[in-house]
């Protein structure tokens, strides 16, 4: 009997989204700050 149930792609994408949104916000703010060096 095969009881193996694969993790859904949607769950994987959602998990990545939850951590990527704040990370992207942080990187965006850092890039904005870094731009001051070139002004």
């Amino acid at each position: 009997m095969n009881e193996e149930k694969k993790s859904s792609l949607l769950a994987i994408a959602l998990a990545w989204l939850i951590v990527c949104i704040p990370a992207a916000w942080g990187v965006y703010n850092t890039v904005l700050n870094a731009m001051k060096l070139f002004h």
Partner: protein
């Protein structure tokens, strides 16, 4: 009953569980605890709790406030080392859940300390309680990812530890924006900011603890077969934490990490004043330079560690430390008094910071190669004491040497030269230690790899 969810056996992955759900769990924790590197945004406000717009009599001083960060980093290394065996026994879910509770509690106690204007409560809260949370939260996700990605351990550790670098990028603007939101004419807003940040990180880290799983015994990635014979530095056997601690390999790698971290902190500590002294730019532009360094630091953690999966850990560290020796040597000569190339200075410093970050992310994969995954969390915890030592050594060396140079009449721009040359010396020591690392001899291997509880197998 709710605590049974934290039991080690409840965190074992069911068949079909995707390992790609584990990196977000690790990132949730590392992106949170990486906030510690953004603690400096509270430095000035904490010295103005009474005076609000300026430091008034009775306000805490900057050196007093600086100890909060030092306590947190020091306790991080100590708790990772002390609780490593516990983590192996209880598994990553319990460790990550405790880490989230302790890190958040640290913020809450500190908020209370700010409310009462009792500095010792902030030391105790953020520094000690939060610091223990940092130590548990730092090593548990890394050790878990190594077990899920035996085929790409460098990539796996790079993902998690890149998150730690990225954590400061979230923590810094979050802290600044929250303080601006809560600020009134009679309050700098730190107290409420600590409460909100504690609650935010509690939820975010708890998400990681709920999501994390350990592979079931005997699991391996599809299509991947572990090597049955040792090749080069990569062992096919586990080594327990006790014997691993007694090997020259452990201590050589400890020195490599300590030297690389000391040199990196040397630049981080002086980044803003250094570029202002060498090129005469404004403090605002220098803040931008610190931002550029943060990006290189974060990218280096992922890039170099992923590269190490292809070229091997020892060659990677040879490249890293060799490049660092060249970079630190030329850095002072890019100044306005010599080449006058700010572009070359920024690029070189950025690469040096990517090497600093790479040391953290590649070292755990190096440990996995040398000692296997059996006690990886405990061994890694002990290796992290190198970071604690570097955290003291780096700033002390840089500040002491620079002050001594200035006292002897050396001008501000030239005072960096000796400091950077000392860093080159440290990096050469690290390079030589890396060269001396050999595969761990058979006498240290486990005779039979009895499955350790949830964490260790």
């Amino acid at each position: 009953m709710a605590f049974s969810f934290l039991a080690p056996d409840r965190a074992v992955a069911r068949p079909g569980f995707s390992r790609w759900l584990v990196p977000p769990a690790a990132l949730a924790v590392h992106l949170s605890i990486g906030q510690v590197y953004a603690f400096s945004v509270f430095k000035i406000p904490l010295t103005r709790l009474i005076g609000i717009t300026h430091s008034a009599p009775g306000d805490w001083t900057q050196p007093q406030v600086a100890w909060i960060f030092s306590f947190a980093i020091g306790v991080l290394g100590l708790s990772a080392a002390l609780f490593g065996p516990w983590l192996e026994r209880e598994g990553p879910r319990k460790a990550m859940a405790y880490a989230s509770a302790l890190f958040a509690l640290g913020f809450f106690i500190s908020s209370f300390g700010v409310h009462l204007h009792q500095l010792w409560l902030v030391y105790f809260g953020y520094g000690i309680i939060g610091g223990i949370g940092l130590g548990l939260g730092y090593s548990a996700p890394v050790a878990t990812l190594i077990r899920w990605f035996p085929d790409r351990p460098g990539l796996a550790t790079g993902m998690a530890i890149m998150g730690f670098g990225g954590g400061a990028m979230i923590g810094s603007p979050l802290g600044v924006k929250l303080m601006a939101f809560f600020r009134t004419s009679t309050n700098v807003g730190v107290e409420k900011t600590f409460l909100v940040m504690g609650a935010f990180y509690l939820c975010f880290m708890a998400f990681g603890a709920v999501l994390v799983r350990v592979p079931r015994p005997g699991w391996k990635p599809e299509g991947w077969e572990p090597k049955t014979t040792a090749s080069g530095m990569v062992t096919t056997h586990g080594v327990a934490v006790g014997p691993a601690f007694r090997t020259p390999q452990f201590w050589l790698l400890w020195i490599v990490l300590c030297m690389n971290t000391t040199a990196g902190i040397g630049i981080l500590e002086q980044a803003s004043p250094m570029i202002q002294d060498l090129f005469g730019i404004t403090a605002i532009a220098a803040g931008g330079f610190v931002g550029v360094l943060s990006l290189f630091n974060m990218a280096g953690r992922f890039f170099w560690s992923a590269v190490s999966d292809y070229i091997g850990r020892k060659p990677t560290f040879m490249i890293l430390l060799g490049l660092a020796v060249i970079g630190y040597s030329i850095l002072p000569y890019t100044s306005a008094a010599h080449m006058n190339s700010i572009g070359l200075f920024v690029l070189t410093a950025g690469i040096m910071l990517s090497i600093y970050g790479a040391g953290f992310s590649t070292a755990p994969a190096y440990l996995k190669d040398l000692f296997g995954t059996y006690n990886i969390a405990a061994i890694y915890g002990r290796l992290l004491t190198a970071w604690s030592v570097a955290g003291i050594l780096g700033p002390v060396l840089v500040n002491y040497m620079r002050e001594s140079q200035l006292k002897h009449g050396v001008d501000r721009a030239s005072a960096y030269q000796l400091v950077l040359h000392i860093m080159v010396g440290l990096l050469v020591v690290g390079f030589l230690c890396n060269l001396l690392i050999r595969a761990v001899p058979e006498k240290y291997w486990l005779k039979s790899e009895a499955p350790a509880a949830a964490g260790g197998h």
